[in-house]
């Protein structure tokens, strides 16, 4: 038996050796299983569409291929997946998501000079993960700065916060505490919930007791939907508000979420530029005319960004490596991506306007766009 086990191990080693392709390969560390797997599906649809367009346009000499690895939205599997991508596949560019995952893989990215690009996590810490960690998504602190004045303007100054107890939730708490006083507002209740909690009727009772005008929900995936539903079911009538994490299809179509306000990166679909129009048209063609969420835009942009940078490197006759991609990004002032022309801050984070959306008939309706500086 022991011999058989070692034989199996040897077979593993052999197997692991194969699979070097001729394609240009980039990696993605997305949740494909577990409670947050829904995000993986969403992110992937954006990234795949961009790869399709890049290949259709023959932007690169060889076809682009995205290698997906499962992170389960957890740091440890993510590190294993990331190691595989950078050490075995030796990809120069990895798509990342989720604040915890991104933080976990950032050291690997830095050490191996591989660019990691986040288009989903919005924890403000993500701006501080080094040169090789980029964000194509405005981080949550910006979103709160847009939402608070909007609420105040509409007479909602007493805000209750229901937040998941992690870096994202913490940072939203900090931002609310910092920004509400500026508009004469007040945080009347701060209720943190563990990541695994599913039942919020008790929380709802406390929200009601706080007499808030608006309730800000800061969580993810299944949990944020459950919070919204259970708040409404348990007699909370105050305005609901959230951040870009709420822009998943199943959150938007929740009946109890009707009327909820949430912020996203402003994507100006009416912009006449070709990139945006083509993205919108092709996405809607593939998805029964549905409007893409900001995440889909972000990961489309992340892949498109790679395409643009890699194309330039190929033209200059340089190899596509993480270091060269970084240098090229720093040398380029602005990029034409979906939603318009954007530029990166020095810390590798995209600056973009934020818009406040309202859920009307199960879809987000933009209310107002705020420029944040």
């Amino acid at each position: 038996m022991r011999a058989r086990v070692w034989a199996a191990t040897a077979a593993v080693c052999m197997l692991a050796g194969g699979a070097f392709g001729k394609d240009v390969e980039i990696g993605a560390v997305f949740p494909m299983s577990g409670t947050n797997a829904i995000y993986g599906d969403v992110f992937k649809s954006g990234a795949d569409l961009a790869a399709e367009h890049i290949n259709a346009d023959h932007m690169l000499k060889e076809p682009l291929k995205i290698l997906y690895e499962d992170s389960q939205a957890l740091p440890q599997p993510a590190v294993v997946a990331m190691t595989k991508l950078v050490e075995v596949k030796q990809v120069p560019y990895v798509l990342s998501a989720f604040t915890g995952v991104s933080k976990a893989i950032s050291t690997l990215a830095q050490r191996s000079q591989t660019v990691a690009v986040n288009g989903g996590g919005v924890g403000p810490d993500l701006a501080k993960l080094g040169d090789y960690f980029w964000n194509v998504i405005p981080l949550a602190n910006l979103e709160v700065r847009a939402m608070v004045p909007y609420l105040a303007k509409h007479g909602m100054k007493k805000v209750a916060l229901v937040y998941v107890d992690d870096p994202l939730g913490q940072s939203i708490l900090d931002e609310l505490n910092a920004n509400l006083p500026k508009v004469d507002g007040k945080l009347v209740a701060e209720l943190s919930v563990p990541t695994s909690t599913q039942n919020f009727s008790g929380i709802a009772a406390k929200v009601r007791a706080s007499g808030a005008d608006a309730v800000y929900i800061a969580s993810y995936g299944a949990q944020q939907i459950q919070i919204a539903k259970q708040l409404r079911d348990n007699g909370v009538k105050a305005q609901l508000a959230s951040y870009s994490g709420f822009s998943t299809p199943d959150a938007l179509k929740l009946p109890q979420a009707e009327g909820l306000l949430y912020t996203t990166q402003a994507v100006n679909y009416k912009a006449g530029d070709k990139v945006t129009q083509r993205f919108l048209a092709d996405y809607q063609k593939a998805h029964d005319g549905k409007k893409p969420s900001a995440y889909i835009v972000n990961y489309y942009n992340a892949v498109l960004l790679f395409g643009i940078l890699a194309q330039k490197l190929e033209e200059a006759g340089k190899p596509i490596t993480g270091a060269n991609l970084l240098a090229e990004r720093k040398a380029t002032k602005s990029f034409d991506l979906v939603g318009g022309t954007v530029s990166f801050q020095d810390n590798g984070t995209l600056l973009a306007p934020i818009q406040v959306n309202k859920i009307v008939d199960g879809a987000g309706q933009p209310q107002e766009t705020v420029d944040i500086n």
């Binding site: 209720l191 943190s192 563990p194 406390k206």
Partner: protein, 289 residues
Amino acid sequence: MLWLQLTLTGLQTGALYALTAVGFSLIFGATRVFHFAHGAAFVLAAYVFYWADTAGLGMIPGIVLAALAAMAFGVAMDRLVYAPIQRHEGSFFTVFVASFGIGIVVENVVGMVFGRSFVTIDSTLSQSRELMEGVYVAPLAWIAIACAAVFFAALQLFLRRTHTGMALRALADSPELIRVFGLDPRRLSSIAFALGSALVVPGAVMTALGSGLNPALGHHVMLISLAATIVGGIGSIGGALVAGFVLGLAENLALIAFPSQWSEAVTFAILFLVIILRPAGLFGRATAH
């Protein structure tokens, strides 16, 4: 008013915990199988009900199908997983690991079939009405509490009045005796699994209607059931019921004093202390050794 509201919410939560815990306790008490996949039965029943609803089959057929699915799962686990393990070695841990493994399988299969995100059934039953100033109660809360009472009473009646029920109670103590009385312990064990698994159905259906479902739900349900079974005292069905309510109330009333992330810790601190200080549980007679 907050405490009254939280008490009512606590009772509703507790009712769901209580029945699920009674199911686990029944199985564990009778067969000594640490049926960790009990949470999976919960998820399965809830999703079958959800599927029946989306297919437009209606509430009652949905409940019946959910019950059938849960029972079939329980019996299948007993016959296909636990029985073969018990035939050779049957150490307690071997059973536990197998059960845990199946729990993972069910969670992921459900995720693949129904999607991994949150689903809910829209129903007016989950929408609260104002009972008095500042106190909201959903019709579902009353249904949950009534269900707990009715199902528990029916179970007690079965266990005390019927031949099979009495045999089930005796099964854990003396399988030999059961054989002497001409009953088949294997068959009894399957009955325990069928009954215990059926008891997840009220909780599963009400969760589908109330707080909503996702495939990872089973884990929490299982841990609470386990805690309730031990706190209530292994082998004490009534103890599990009471402990289920106690844990539901504790979870909600703890909100008055603590931030909510400590509420799970409260549950397990209670569990840990009970095992150290009173291993037989609050209502148990059996000793821990």
